[in-house]
């Protein structure tokens, strides 16, 4: 009976953040692999649920699993593939698009600039903007202090801003 109650808790937690988890995986690995990563994340959570149940906040635990799942997928990616997920192509014409070309071109330029960031910075951006997590939740998911999260986020946004301004100048 206790086991059934625990599974209901996992089900409830999963249903509450499934959309944001998928958005996070889209940002980390692209839309093509996002569903596979989501399934992988769910299976990992199912497999280790008995060891976790009742030992903390379920959502934070799921986010930690999601971060590990994305990191493992990033390490397992075929050698020679681009370090950015699907849709990131800095060599594409839209990557050099400037703000004058319209809002969608600007969004593409920003997206391409995000793809050129270091993985830790991109990770923080994905957790912040795609998963819509607070600084404290990001820190919990990454197991780092909140100050580190702020620092990485600041560096990431400043890096995007510099790349966009350079593209605007050229």
């Amino acid at each position: 009976m206790a086991q059934r109650h625990d599974m209901a808790e996992l089900e409830q937690a999963w249903a509450g953040i499934a959309d944001r988890l998928r958005a996070y995986f889209v940002c980390r690995a692209g839309p093509t692999d996002a569903d596979d990563l989501l399934q992988d994340c769910f299976l990992r959570a199912m497999g280790s649920w008995n060891g976790f149940a009742g030992r903390g906040r379920c959502e934070g635990w799921l986010w930690r699993i999601a971060v590990r799942t994305a990191a493992d997928a990033y390490r397992r990616r075929p050698r020679g593939t681009a370090p950015w997920p699907d849709g990131f192509d800095p060599a594409a014409p839209q990557a050099a698009a400037t703000a004058e070309a319209g809002p969608s071109a600007e969004a593409e330029a920003v997206w391409a600039a995000v793809g050129r960031l270091d993985p830790p910075q991109r990770e923080v951006l994905a957790l912040r903007f795609a998963a819509d997590l607070s600084y404290a939740e990001i820190a919990d998911a990454l197991d780092v202090p909140v100050g580190t999260v702020r620092s990485r986020l600041h560096r990431a946004i400043a890096g995007v801003r510099d790349r966009i301004s350079r593209a605007d100048e050229t």
Binding site: E11, D35, Q39, F42, A107, W111, L125, R161
Partner: protein, 196 residues
């Protein structure tokens, strides 16, 4: 204030992570320092652009997670792997549907080929069929009919009038394309020589 510290504060303010007191202090500071205000505005603009670009990409790839899948799996843990496989198969459905249609087309072609081959074989077993000869049509001696005779009475009279008006012994006005004679000479059968 240090530029990095200012940018971090501006970023926190854009993300709603600043408490009310700190935000009020930052506002007062920026009101007195236009250069800092410009830097903060630049940082907040970059923050918003990042958020909008990522949201646009995520929205473009948005597809709702299959409702109830988590519920089914948690109610029956042993089915989690099967559900995962089902989802993977669903993701590959377009490719599989093409293969299914190709298989169907191949089956139809195979059935048609068997039918055609069987029909040919059965026909061969029955032996060559004898087709009753059609009665021969009466041969028309085309050579005996002169071109003038093929014309109606009106045109025959016209041509005869024209031929009568032509000077006797004169060669045709224009040689034929092959140099052997004109159109008029074609109309003349041997018995029409008397007209000349």
């Amino acid at each position: 204030m240090d530029r990095d510290a200012l940018e971090r504060l501006a970023m926190d303010r854009a993300g709603g992570e600043l408490d009310a007191d700190t935000e009020a202090l930052l506002g007062a500071y920026l009101a007195d320092h236009p250069e800092a205000r410009r830097a903060a505005a630049e940082m907040e603009s970059a923050y918003r652009r990042c958020r909008e670009a990522i949201a646009a990409q995520v929205e473009a790839a948005a597809r709702p997670f299959p409702a109830g899948q988590a519920g089914r799996a948690t109610r029956a843990p042993g089915r989690a792997t099967r559900d995962s496989g089902r989802a993977t198969r669903a993701a590959r459905a377009p490719r599989r549907s093409v293969g299914r249609w190709l298989a169907r087309a191949a089956a139809v072609l195979a059935i048609l080929g068997l039918g055609a081959g069987g029909g040919w074989w059965l026909g061969r077993q029955a032996g060559p069929r004898t087709v009753p000869a059609m009665p021969a049509a009466p041969a028309v001696a085309q050579a005996d009919v002169s071109p003038l005779d093929r014309l109606g009475p009106f045109w025959r009279e016209k041509v005869a009038t024209l031929l009568e008006g032509r000077p006797a012994g004169r060669a045709p006005a224009r040689a034929g394309r092959n140099g052997t004679g004109g159109r008029w000479s074609e109309l003349l059968s041997p018995d029409k020589e008397t007209i000349r």
